[in-house]
């Protein structure tokens, strides 16, 4: 019985050691991945920052104003003035195209020659 316990505990220790060894390497691999991801995120952040800065630079008010003036012929953009406000009933809604006629009633004279054709 004692011998059995002895062998059993030795096997247990070996198993646990093997498990700990594997966990250790898995952890290290995860840490490496996290580090890699962090550096990727950092690079993406940096790229994003550059893009944001460029976006802000391209949208700076001075440039937009100059562009609006340069392209006035095409776009006709003016500074927002008080007369730009209107009322909702001044908005012209597009006239919706009429839908197809469904369930029409056939009349016997439909295909009959019209008077002008006669």
């Amino acid at each position: 019985m004692r011998g059995f316990l002895f062998v059993f505990s030795i096997l247990g220790v070996m198993g646990l050691a093997f498990w700990a060894y594997q966990e250790n390497y898995r952890t290290q691999q995860s840490l490496g991945e996290v580090r890699q991801l962090h550096s990727n995120i950092g690079a993406a952040h940096q790229r994003l920052n550059v893009l944001k800065a460029e976006w802000a630079y391209l949208n700076r008010p001075d440039r937009l104003r100059d562009l609006a003036e340069l392209n006035f012929d095409r776009l006709g953009l003016l500074p927002l003035m008080p007369d730009a406000f209107g009322r909702i009933d001044q908005v012209e809604y597009p006239v919706l195209p009429l839908g197809p006629i469904l369930g029409s009633i056939e009349v016997s004279s439909d295909n009959a020659p019209q008077e002008e054709d006669l």
Binding site: L31, H45, N49, A53, A56, R60, L80, M81, F85, D89
Partner: protein
């Protein structure tokens, strides 16, 4: 183990035969046995002590070695335990109230030389001078061949320049990463943002520190990594700020003024929506501080915050509002305006003579110095001083700019009755346009004190009450009357019901001897819309003149007012305010028969 008997039969019998006491044998054996037990116990204890000592020795050895290793090795960031986002360690961005970027960072590189590693200093010096025109090849060569081992060449270089330096191919020319503060909008809001520069610099990194404006006032916040890149949200609206700068720039040129300032403020929250000071500068390339001469001539000078001027008749509303609050007069009380008013050897005149008396409203509308001075005398020295103090006009503003403390008002050294009279119409007390904006906001918003702020707020400030709501209403009506029938008739903007008060103050001579005859500060303090005041706009022009109707005119009514009106016309729609023109007949059901 063989146990020795205490009374061995053979020895007992022998002892008995010899007539000895057998108990002595037992005692002797017992003694021997006890000695054996004692020896073995001591051995075991000594062994245990040895093992314990060895264990302790090993433990201390391990601890000591570990400490030595920790002390002698380079510290390493903990990788797993780091909470939050370990990437965003940069200085935080600054954004406007709608989230548009006002200041951000850009990765660049710095260029330095490790001189012992250089292969061909002469070629490197010539190459560098070709890339960077401001460098001198001879001086570089002297540095490269001298005693030095290390040399900073440039703090920031562009990627193209970096490639060109790579092409020189000298192993002694090295790059270090650098964060550069970038203000993408150029000079827009330059005085508010201030600027940044480098603090402690190393090869691998450099500290970016704010040197002026909000960059300096919020330096700790912007550098705090605990914010995880949360930007600093200002109350400024970038679009409004740019439009205001544009209008003010145009107005300044048209009125041939040497400087101009404007402040647009929300009367309830105290948020500064736009604050302009001209001439301005580009914070990406901050000019040097003037070493001599008048600092107020430098473009770095923020006229809206640091420029303390006598703001003239714009102060009259304070005296009249206080007198009504105290019950001394009401809007229709007739005030004696016969002039000139004599006090000691001083005389108070005013611009036009409008007759013997005017109502309190007319005093404001016609801007009567004598009338206001008489009202101020009724109020008295102490009460006037307390009231102006409660409006925040006697101390530097609490706005979040590093320059705010230098905009402390200039008070008269001795607040006499004459000072009371002159201060009531804006002479003898110098304040900044921002002070005036905050004080006007407190007057027109229903009478509660607001403090100007540059941070975005989401609720009104409920400050202590300085005026009752009725008096605030009366004051706004008076200001509205100034525009409809008084000195600010050019200030009318259809649909926005502008109210305001003009102020034209002669500039004091620098050497202290009185005032200039031909140099003025023209101010228009306006509020709109008058039926429900939402914004206060202060426009100040420094030394404006405009030729109109055949003569040179300097008064605010001809200079600051048209500029302010144009600014309101441009800015109010941007603030989402719909002009209140007479609405067309409402669409609805019309009764055709009754």
């Amino acid at each position: 183990m063989i146990r020795t008997p205490l009374r061995p039969l053979a020895r007992i019998l022998k002892a008995r035969a010899n007539g000895e006491n057998p108990d002595a044998i037992q005692a002797e054996n017992l003694r021997l046995r006890h000695e054996d037990i004692r020896d073995s116990a001591r051995n075991r204890a000594e062994g245990r002590l040895l093992v314990l000592g060895a264990m302790f020795f090993c433990a201390f050895l391990v601890v000591g070695l570990r400490m030595g290793a920790l002390a002698s090795s380079v510290p390493e960031e903990p990788r797993v335990a780091a909470s939050g986002n370990p990437i965003i360690g940069q200085r935080a961005d600054i954004v406007d109230r709608n989230g548009r970027i006002l200041a951000t960072n850009l990765e660049t590189h710095s260029l330095y030389a490790q001189i012992p590693d250089m292969v061909d200093p002469e070629r490197a010096a010539i190459g560098l001078a070709a890339i960077f025109p401001e460098l001198d090849a001879d001086r570089l060569l002297t540095d490269f061949t001298g005693e030095r081992h290390f040399l900073w060449i440039r703090r920031q270089i562009s990627p193209e320049q970096m490639q060109a330096v790579h092409d020189i191919g000298d192993p002694g020319l090295l790059f270090g990463p650098r964060e550069m503060r970038l203000y993408p909008n150029g000079s827009v809001a330059a005085h508010i943002l201030g600027g940044a520069s480098y603090g402690r610099e190393g090869v691998h990194s450099a500290e970016v520190i704010g040197v002026a404006g909000v960059e300096r006032a919020f330096d700790d916040f912007l550098r705090d990594p605990g914010n995880e890149g949360r930007p600093l949200e200002l109350s400024i609206d970038l679009t409004v700020q740019a439009a205001s700068e544009r209008v003010l720039q145009g107005g300044m040129m048209l009125m041939s003024a040497k400087g101009a300032a404007s402040v647009l403020m929300d009367v309830r929250t105290g948020e500064i929506i736009s604050m302009v000071s001209l001439p301005d500068f580009d914070p990406n390339d901050r000019p040097q501080v003037l070493l001599e001469g008048d600092q107020s001539d430098s473009p770095l000078f923020n006229r809206a915050v640091q420029g303390v001027y006598e703001l003239g008749s714009t102060f009259k509303i304070f005296a009249v509002a206080q007198a009504i609050e105290l019950g001394l007069i009401n809007a229709t009380t007739m005030i004696d305006t016969r002039g000139p008013l004599q006090w000691g050897r001083h005389q108070i005149h005013y611009f036009h003579d409008y007759g013997a008396q005017l109502s309190a409203t007319e005093v404001i509308v016609q801007s009567s110095n004598i009338g206001t001075a008489r009202i101020a005398v009724m109020i008295g020295i102490q009460r006037q001083r307390d009231f102006l103090d409660s409006l925040g006009l006697l101390a530097a503003t609490s706005v979040e700019l590093s320059e705010a403390h230098s905009g402390a008002p200039l008070l008269p050294p001795n607040w006499s009755e004459l000072s009371t009279m002159t201060i009531s119409y804006g002479h003898g007390l110098s304040t900044s346009p921002l002070h005036l904006a905050a004080a006007y906001s407190s007057i027109v918003n229903g009478g509660t004190l607001v403090r100007p702020t540059l941070l975005r707020q989401d609720r009104p400030q409920f400050g202590p009450r300085v005026l009752s709501e009725d008096v605030s209403r009366i004051a706004v009506d008076m200001l509205r009357a100034v525009v409809t029938s008084g000195t600010a008739s050019f200030g009318e903007v259809p649909g926005y019901q502008v109210g305001g008060k003009t102020g034209t103050a002669d500039k004091p001579r620098e050497n202290g001897g009185g005032y200039y005859d031909d140099k003025v500060i023209a101010t228009f303090a306006s509020v709109f819309p008058a039926d429900d005041p939402q914004y206060v706009l202060i426009v100040t022009l420094d030394e404006p003149t405009v030729d109109a109707l055949g003569e040179a005119r300097r008064t605010a009514g001809w200079t600051a007012v048209p500029v302010a009106a144009e600014m309101i016309r441009r800015v109010a729609p941007l603030l989402g305010m719909r002009p209140d023109v007479e609405t067309a007949a409402p669409v609805g059901v019309t009764l055709t028969s009754n």
